[in-house]
């Protein structure tokens, strides 16, 4: 047997281990603080290579984004790679933790503040072309400490979706479309039949949040600095839902064996539901024979209100090509490109100047864009996801009769306050 000297072996082993460790940990030592430094990195004169990570709804969206970015790349002499993420939240987080995030990516309002606070987003609000044209509520969703961070790529609000056949069969006309909560309760009662409830919606905090808004309350105050769950307005709103559920005219979708509001309406288990514009594609694909229409949410005691849903094009603070990325995003949120996207896979444009075009081209989606200026976006406080998930559990209990509306709101108040006090 050949004699192997001891020291070189040990050194070789250590080296191999160290190399492997270093390879795995690459990027862990990147410490450049691009956040807070407003000067964009890189130039716009071509030669940049950008990665764009999207949480795609499907093939249509992926292809549309690929086409749009490829066109921009050709015009400007840059390169763009589009990565449709399987799990955007997790893949983005991995990139951020490793100091190697994609240059451009989708950001949802409920995760926006976490990323902005963590210094992961490059604030380019002042470089968005014609930013004032974008709906105020959508810009608010991506504003942190009075600074607009990213450009909303689309928008939409909750609307009341109605099964028109059931509506006509119940002897109701278009004039009867509910304008307020009394009208909604009456219509739901008229539409409730054997094996069908009048109104069913996903039993989570989003549609219930829209009711709270119409009732003049919400989970948090305008600045999202205080929890305002346990108020008389919210109690009245929850009580309204609860009373109608007890009467058998309202239901949460899971309780009538439907995964979400769209399935409840599509399968005929309910005659009305509350959803956003995403229901349009789902109904077309899964329940093409269902005849439906969408009307704005009925006004509550606090006036007409709804929740706004949107995503923005975030640019990484660690990106080396921020200037090019801003240029790309500006081309993606331009009115022409938003029209192309709307035709390709159905998002509602985020620009107010396109409201008329949207209502004309897609009359079935008009209600999902109405009242966008006064709508409110989801709670953005980091960590609120678990608090609202607990509220979902309380709502389940309310539907089952084991939790009173008071208790549900008190639990939300306690948990939310505990979270905000940690901030």
């Amino acid at each position: 047997m050949r004699h192997i000297p001891r020291t070189p072996l040990a050194v070789a082993t250590a080296l191999a281990a160290a190399t492997l460790l270093a390879a795995c940990g690459s990027g862990f030592d990147d410490d450049d603080d691009a956040a807070g430094d407003d000067a964009a990195t890189g130039g716009t004169d071509g030669g940049a290579s950008l990665t764009v990570m999207i949480g795609s709804s499907g093939e249509a969206e992926t292809v549309a984004v690929q086409d749009a970015t490829a066109q921009w790349a050709e015009e400007t002499g840059n390169e763009v790679e589009v990565i449709p993420a399987q799990d955007l939240v997790q893949q983005l987080q991995q990139g951020l933790a490793g100091g190697n995030p994609p240059d451009v990516f989708y950001v949802s309002p409920d995760r926006f503040r976490m990323l902005a606070e963590g210094g992961s987003l490059y604030p380019y609000g002042d470089q968005i072309e014609d930013a004032d044209d974008i709906y105020q509520s959508l810009r608010d969703a991506f504003t942190y400490e009075d600074e607009l961070y990213c450009a909303p790529k689309d928008g939409g609000v909750h609307a009341l979706v109605i099964d028109t056949e059931a509506w006509a069969a119940a002897g109701l006309t278009e004039a009867d479309y509910p304008q307020d909560w009394d009208g909604l309760a009456t219509a739901a009662q008229a539409l409730t039949a054997d094996g069908r409830v009048g109104l069913a919606f996903t039993g989570d905090y989003n549609p219930v949040g829209s009711f709270l808004l119409a009732g003049g309350g919400f989970f948090v105050n305008d600045d999202q600095t205080e929890v305002t769950a346990d108020t008389p307005e919210n109690l009245a709103s929850l009580q309204y839902i609860k009373d109608n559920m007890d009467a058998g005219t309202f239901a949460f979708a899971p309780n009538i064996d439907a995964a979400w509001g769209g399935e409840a309406l599509g399968s005929g288990k309910s005659a009305m539901t509350i959803e956003g514009a995403w229901i349009v594609g789902a109904l077309q694909n899964d329940f093409p024979e269902r005849q439906w229409t969408a009307v704005p949410m009925p006004a509550g005691p606090g006036g007409p209100a709804s929740t706004a849903f949107t995503n923005c094009w975030g640019i990484a603070a660690d990106s080396e090509n921020q200037a090019a990325a801003v240029d790309l995003v500006n081309s993606l949120v331009s009115p022409e490109q938003q029209q192309t996207f709307a035709e390709a896979f159905g998002p509602i444009p985020s620009r107010a100047s396109l409201a008329g075009w949207n209502a004309e081209t897609f009359p079935e989606k008009a209600a999902f864009a109405e009242g966008m200026d006064t709508a409110r976006s989801q709670v953005a406080v980091p960590g609120f996801e678990s608090v609202l998930a607990d509220f979902n559990t309380q709502l389940e209990g309310m539907a089952a009769g084991t939790v009173t509306p008071e208790q549900a709101l008190q639990a939300l108040q306690t948990n939310g306050e505990a979270l905000l006090s940690q901030e």
Partner: protein
């Protein structure tokens, strides 16, 4: 195993006599040994021990997952993540205790079920009476090679309110629950049949970890039962193989001898097969125990913790806290507490299942 023991013993015997002569040779051998195990050791260190140490460090930080945890950007908070998890009343501790309760029932029923089912399957495909044994062995192993995602989606359809399971139940006049949305605990349901629908005072007032004893004693929820069924079905094929190997190691002579001595089928099983299968049973219980505590993918796909958090598990809490709320320190702390629970239970189980010489 035996070979190593003999070698060590003989080396020990001659070492005092021939130490000087062999020491150089021995050292060389040891070195060569290290060289040969080096790849495995390096892989273990890099992909197992180093990440564990990193996670341990993260569990002591208030880290949002957006920078390097080793750059000093994240605040060092000591044991406060563990405190809010285990001692401070609040949403986090409540969620965690619920997840521990759910998993205790999950482990209890899943491990029992999987041992019984896979043992029965192994006995069946090992018996000489059965025709086409290799065919059945393959069939029973099928679920193990199917992706757990596909199985979960399949079960979602089977256990729908109007799904196959309930249709079959309705043939025998049973009105099945809507499985994955039913949060009622099974023990509570059974107690309800005997008129105990509310918590007796003592059980409602005594709390452990912020959860009343009445809640601890709920039993698995209806939704959790569907989940347990899924896991038993999916994993019994693998464990059947473990048992099959054990059964085939039992010498035929012994069985014949017992038969000649006049032992019946049950007696043979109780006094011959079971004692000889002790090792296999302990092994299967250990493996099933560990994998049950780590259950994640079925929960992630099927229920996300609902209904009423009765399918929440520690691994899922860790995931949601980390990626949902951006509290990676808390998520890592949950993982370490889970790690400790598994270690302790495995040690206890090994101690209980140890071989006693009489």
């Amino acid at each position: 195993m035996t070979a190593t023991v003999t070698r060590e013993a003989s080396a020990g015997r001659i070492r005092p006599v021939r130490r000087r002569v062999t020491s150089g040779h021995l050292r060389q051998e040891r070195r060569a040994g290290w060289l040969f195990v080096a790849p495995a050791v390096i892989v273990l260190v890099v992909f197992l021990f180093a990440p564990i140490l990193m996670a341990a460090w993260v569990s002591l930080l208030d880290w949002n997952g957006q920078s390097s945890p080793f750059s000093g950007d994240a605040d060092f908070v000591g044991l406060s993540n563990y405190q809010s998890l285990l001692t401070e009343a609040g949403l986090l501790r409540n969620d965690f205790m619920l997840s521990v309760r759910n998993t205790i029932y999950y482990v209890l029923f899943n491990v029992t079920g999987v041992v019984v089912v896979s043992f029965a399957l192994a006995m069946a495909v090992n018996s000489y009476v059965l025709r086409g044994r290799s065919f059945f062995r393959t069939i029973f192993y099928f679920p193990a090679i199917t992706s757990s995602v596909a199985i979960s989606v399949l079960f979602l359809f089977l256990f729908q309110g109007s799904g196959v399971v309930n249709v079959v139940l309705s043939w025998v006049g049973v009105d099945g629950p809507s499985w994955f949305t039913d949060p009622r605990g099974v023990l509570h349901i059974v107690l309800g049949w005997f008129g105990v629908s509310d918590a007796p005072g003592a059980l409602a007032d005594t709390t452990v970890g912020g959860l009343s004893l009445w809640n601890w004693l709920s039993g698995p929820s209806v939704a959790m039962c569907a989940l347990i069924t899924l896991t038993i079905w999916a994993s019994s094929g693998t464990f059947m193989l473990f048992f099959l190997v054990g059964l085939q190691d039992i010498p035929v002579e012994l069985e014949e001898a017992t038969a000649i001595d006049g032992a019946g089928g049950w007696q043979r099983f109780r006094h011959l097969t079971l004692p000889l299968m002790r090792r296999s049973i302990v092994l299967v219980i250990t493996l099933a125990l560990i994998s049950s505590w780590q259950v994640f993918d079925q929960v992630f796909i099927l229920s996300q913790g609902s209904p009423a958090k009765t399918t929440l598990t520690p691994a899922y809490v860790s995931y949601v806290r980390s990626f949902g709320d951006g509290q990676f320190g808390v998520g890592a702390a949950v993982a370490f507490v889970l790690f400790a629970i598994i270690i302790v239970l495995t040690l206890v189980q090994r101690w209980v299942g140890r071989e006693r010489r009489t």
